[in-house]
């Protein structure tokens, strides 16, 4: 599953099915007392690529903008500025809507909450077939056959189609959600915290399912999560976001073994390990800054143990520091 990218050794160059350039998303929050609406910059000039057949893990804490990024990528929210190119079509900007319509069948989304992601009033079969029903043009028989096929693909018995979502556990509902996402054979699936709401013993099952599907169906994923260990088990490359900015991006093994950005280092250090002998260094102080009124300079400067004067003034631009490794930090 290793997809070489622009490797000088003359190996196959994978194509980028997703290209994000300088993406920005602002939310306008109306304030009480009739003041001008405040601007919440949820996504702050981020750029990345995703290669076909790979998984980009997007990690960050709350307020990092990762969920917003996921939704921007499938057109659930309109971008404020910047460019998103999917399968060669630019879905941002003036001609974005028709472009999105062209590639819509190749995109899909898996949601976090197994309890809210299925309509409690619809039978499971109808939930799964919804993308088919909306697209139209399928015969009843074909549609039902596809539902059965999908249920089998995600490891559920066919009879499940006649039941209602509330009859199933969280893990089973997540499988149903995945089946729905696969209905029209997408090529790219955004998974937004798909295992966070599940019990630990169930997480492994769903992660394995997603990996199997990727192999079998040649899917590419944007896998959004706050749990670094979960991301390690599924990602090919990992990108780290902090307060709306992309601070570091690298192939998985590189990021976890040799992180460069101070935030990534602090984040990896902070995660508790199931190892009682491990001694963790003191936790990083401070809080995630308010993205309502971001301070100038690097968003992490206030908490960074290696902050320099320039960090508080200038936002660092992303710089390549190695093979597929990009860091936005004045240290480099």
């Amino acid at each position: 599953m290793s997809a070489a990218r622009g490797h000088a050794g003359g190996r196959v160059v994978s194509r980028s099915i997703v290209k994000v350039r300088d993406l920005v998303k602002d939310f306008h929050v109306t304030r009480g007392r009739g003041g001008p609406p405040a601007v919440l910059r949820a996504v702050n000039h981020i750029s990345f690529d995703i290669q076909a057949g790979t998984t980009l893990g997007l990690v960050g804490e709350s307020g990092s903008g990762k969920s917003t990024t996921g939704r921007l990528l499938v057109g659930l929210i309109p971008a404020s500025s910047g460019e998103i190119e999917l399968f060669g079509e630019t879905i941002t900007g003036g001609a974005g809507a028709p472009a999105l319509a062209k590639v819509r069948s190749k995109l899909q989304f898996v949601f976090q909450d197994p309890h809210g992601s299925l309509n409690p009033r619809m039978r499971v079969g109808d939930c799964i077939a919804e993308p088919i029903d909306i697209a139209g043009g399928w015969s009843r028989g074909d549609r039902n056959d596809r539902v059965s096929e999908l249920l089998e693909t995600v490891g559920l018995p066919r009879a499940v189609a006649e039941r209602f979502p509330h009859e199933f556990s969280g893990g089973q509902r997540q499988r149903i959600g995945i089946a729905r996402a696969l209905a029209l054979r997408p090529d790219f699936v955004v998974c937004d915290e798909p295992v966070s709401a599940l019990d630990v013993s169930m997480q492994a099952q769903i992660i394995n399912l997603l990996l199997d599907l990727q192999e079998k169906l040649g899917l590419s994923y944007l896998f959004i999560a706050h749990d670094l260990a979960v991301v390690r088990s599924i990602a090919t490359d990992v990108a780290v976001m902090y307060a709306g900015a992309l601070v570091e991006q690298a192939p998985k093994t590189v990021l976890y073994s040799a992180p460069q950005h101070p935030y990534t280092q602090a984040l990896l250090e902070a995660v508790p390990r199931p190892d009682p002998d491990r001694v963790r260094s003191a936790a990083l102080g401070g809080e995630v800054p308010s993205i309502l009124n971001p301070p100038p300079g690097c968003a992490f400067a206030a908490r960074c143990p290696q902050a320099m004067d320039v960090c508080r003034v200038d936002r660092p631009a992303p710089r390549a520091t190695g093979e597929g490794h990009v860091v936005a930090c004045h240290l480099y």
Partner: protein, 328 residues
């Protein structure tokens, strides 16, 4: 050493639409003074209900009175009159919860909320309570405490609110602090701060702590002794190092294998098949048997007993204990 708190054969049952369900099934545990006990389990394990039952905080209309005993200070708390129970809650045994957003009253200032416990248990007057509240905010490392103390909860972040909750809990220097998933709703970097704080406070105040979580990493970092629960029953207890190095119960073993690893690349996680049983489902024999890779015929019909698996170790799987004993 004499245990500070001893839970003996606690059973808690709830009435649901679908009939009675046993949330906690004959659970026993003991906490020594100054000890950090971790209770780990997934949903439906009964860990939270156990904790709530210690302080008799469960919802009365839907529960029958729990059976068993909860011994504290030589008396059974389950039979204490309400007035004495109230004196213990907050005064000697305190609890913090998972969701800091809903655990604080939005219309009271921080000073009022911390002060409530001080005025109640120590009879402090308003001014003294406020001063002590500021001291407590300093203790839980909230910067600018003198100003913060007069603020309302909505102005604080999740991590700060959790610190306030801790401040409220330790205000009267309780002997035991029960923390139910205190960091689950927090970001990783904030979680690390809170765990550091709890550990330091535990040492400074000499408190015992019962930490309840589903996160094995948090348990490894914090607890000295661990109790693993599954579907309402205790399946294993062990000192923390032993539990992680040599898990005995197949569930503990399966769980440790199945959790995603941060420090190594694993090709495929060995998942535990099946899912946690529905709480109202009736399962004969061992509740883990439908999913256990080493299940035997007897497991499905007889409820396994907790058997000793070494010093300070117990596991609810006689076949496995016997097997490991034979090998070592």
């Amino acid at each position: 050493m004499e245990p500070l708190l001893e839970v003996d054969d606690l059973t808690v049952r709830f009435r649901t639409d679908a009939g009675w369900m046993t949330a906690v099934d004959r659970v026993s545990l003991a906490v020594r003074p100054g000890e950090a006990l971790g209770i780990v389990g997934e949903s439906g394990s009964g860990k939270s209900v156990t904790a709530l039952s210690i302080l008799r905080l469960h919802a009365a209309p839907t529960t029958r009175m729990p059976t068993g005993r909860i011994m504290y200070g030589g008396r059974d708390m389950l039979t204490l009159p309400a007035r004495e129970m109230r004196a213990i809650r907050g005064g000697e045994i305190a609890m913090i919860f998972q969701d800091p957003m809903s655990s604080l009253n939005p219309v009271l200032t921080i000073a009022d909320q911390i002060g409530e416990s001080l005025r109640l248990h120590q009879g402090l007057d308003h001014a003294a309570a406020r001063q002590r509240a500021i001291d407590l905010l300093d203790l839980v490392r909230i910067p600018d405490a003198a100003r913060r103390v007069d603020e309302y909860p909505h102005r604080l972040s999740g991590g700060m609110r959790q610190r306030v909750m801790i401040a409220i809990a330790i205000a009267c220097r309780p002997k035991l602090l029960i923390a139910d998933e205190p960091t689950t709703a927090l970001d990783v970097t904030i979680q690390a701060q809170i765990l550091d704080l709890l550990r330091d406070l535990q040492m400074e105040l000499g408190m015992s702590v019962i930490l309840i979580t589903h996160d094995m990493g948090v348990i490894a970092e914090f607890a000295r002794r661990v109790m693993v629960m599954y579907a309402g029953r205790v399946v294993e207890t062990a000192p923390v190092g032993e539990l992680f190095r040599r898990p005995v119960h197949p569930y503990t073993d399966g769980l440790l294998s199945a959790i995603p690893k941060l420090d190594v690349d694993v090709r495929r996680l060995p998942a535990i098949p099946g899912s946690i049983p529905d709480p109202t489902a009736v399962i004969l024999g061992c509740r883990y048997s439908p999913r256990c890779p080493m299940v035997q015929a007897a497991c499905r019909t007889e409820v396994p007993e907790l058997v000793s698996a070494g010093p300070e170790r117990e596991a609810r799987c006689p076949p496995r204990v016997a097997m490991l004993g034979a090998v070592s």
